[in-house]
Subunit: 215 residues, 2 copies
DNA sequence: CCTACCGATCGGTAGG
DNA sequence: CCTACCGATCGGTAGG
């Protein structure tokens, strides 16, 4: 319980005589990222509570205690999954908006919607769905962290929706419109089936046709 | 540490031939329903996995093993919560549609939306939100049971949306429209706050303005 | 419905 | 990162 820690405490973490690792396992960053990916997949499939840290360890060929070398607690791992998801989502969104001019809100909203579908439904994109559906398992500090990232993400929608409102393409209040539109998209995680549903482009067309007036 | 325990150990806690029950506890059906209500509330607040059967028992003043007198397993209790929610939702929806004529799809859709908000966000209506967000914890048989009830519920929307499509109030494909509209509504469970958000009537207005064309 | 209990699982840790 | 382990909790049950 004292603050004093043996100085040599963890310094030998690597080196000393480690067995040679395969390419995939060579550096810590890589192992850590494998844990993140496996956790995202399992959390999405089974839920956070129903996934044990042993499941995650086994998925990347570790032993039961080893994930705690990379993440202090199970919910820190969950939080890291969500952060990773939000950073990727924000990057994808920013890139998508780069292709349209700022005075073309119809083109902008289409790209926002399409990028959002990619984030939610693209192959291997489990990180953001986990964030949407396992929010409850975070502690207050983690929740605040993620709320800030989510606010960043959603902030990009507001000026676009305001422009659409001004031009008559959107009739409902902007704030509620954003909540309902994002809700409609987010819910697709529940029913979308890559083998049976429409393509992401077709979903985007349907959403645009559903929400926007022709003028 | 032996298994032998003094026989008089705690038996007198409420003495020999059962103490008189209060009105609320008198019959089994009532106790069972108390369990359902408490479970719905806790499952909604904490999630299914994070709620123990002991939590539920305590919430209605039972001891830890007693819920299993009323429900065979924990997921049977979850399933019963969801069934209760769907039966109430279907009844509410049917009643709502009784007030409009079948040839007035605008009036019908408004009532369907308003009834859905009541089911999701009305005070004490925890049953359907649990169904929406704890689907994963059911076994396959239970899932099929609930899927049938959900199909019943959603079937009422299709002819209304088809009529709106025919009259030009809806431009997107009917099936995708239903999925996106219900998704937009269902997601409100995540952000709606009775103390800060708009009223259910205002939400209904916004949804109608958002999805339907003026013609 | 209560009592007393079991077997299993789980997050997490010390120590190397 | 592995080994060996702990304390706690949990769903569920027998027997009354």
């Amino acid at each position: 319980m004292t603050a004093v820690v043996s100085p040599s405490h963890e310094e030998h973490k690597r080196a000393r005589g480690r067995p040679p690792k395969t390419e995939d396992e060579r550096d810590d960053g890589n192992r850590r990222h494998q844990l993140l990916t496996a956790a995202a997949r399992l959390f999405r499939r089974q839920g956070f509570d129903a996934t044990s840290t042993r499941d995650i360890a086994a998925a990347v060929g570790m032993h039961s205690g080893s994930p705690f070398y990379h993440f202090k607690t199970k919910d820190a791992l969950l939080c890291a999954v969500m952060e990773e998801g939000m950073h990727a989502a924000i990057a994808r969104q920013t890139k998508a908006l780069r292709g349209v001019q700022a005075d073309q809100p119809l083109g902008q909203i289409r790209r926002l919607i399409r990028a959002h579908f990619e984030t939610l439904l693209g192959p291997g994109n489990d990180f953001v769905p986990v964030m949407l559906y396992e929010h409850r398992s975070l502690n207050p500090g983690q929740r605040a962290l993620l709320a800030a990232l989510q606010a960043d993400y959603e902030a990009a929608w507001t000026p676009v929706l305001e422009a659409l409102h001004a031009s008559g393409h959107l009739r409902a209040p902007v704030k509620l419109s954003r909540l309902f539109i994002l809700g409609a998209l987010n819910w697709s995680v529940q029913w979308f089936d890559r083998k049976k549903s429409a393509s992401l482009d077709e979903l985007t067309d349907a959403v645009v046709a559903l929400f926007l007036k022709e003028c």
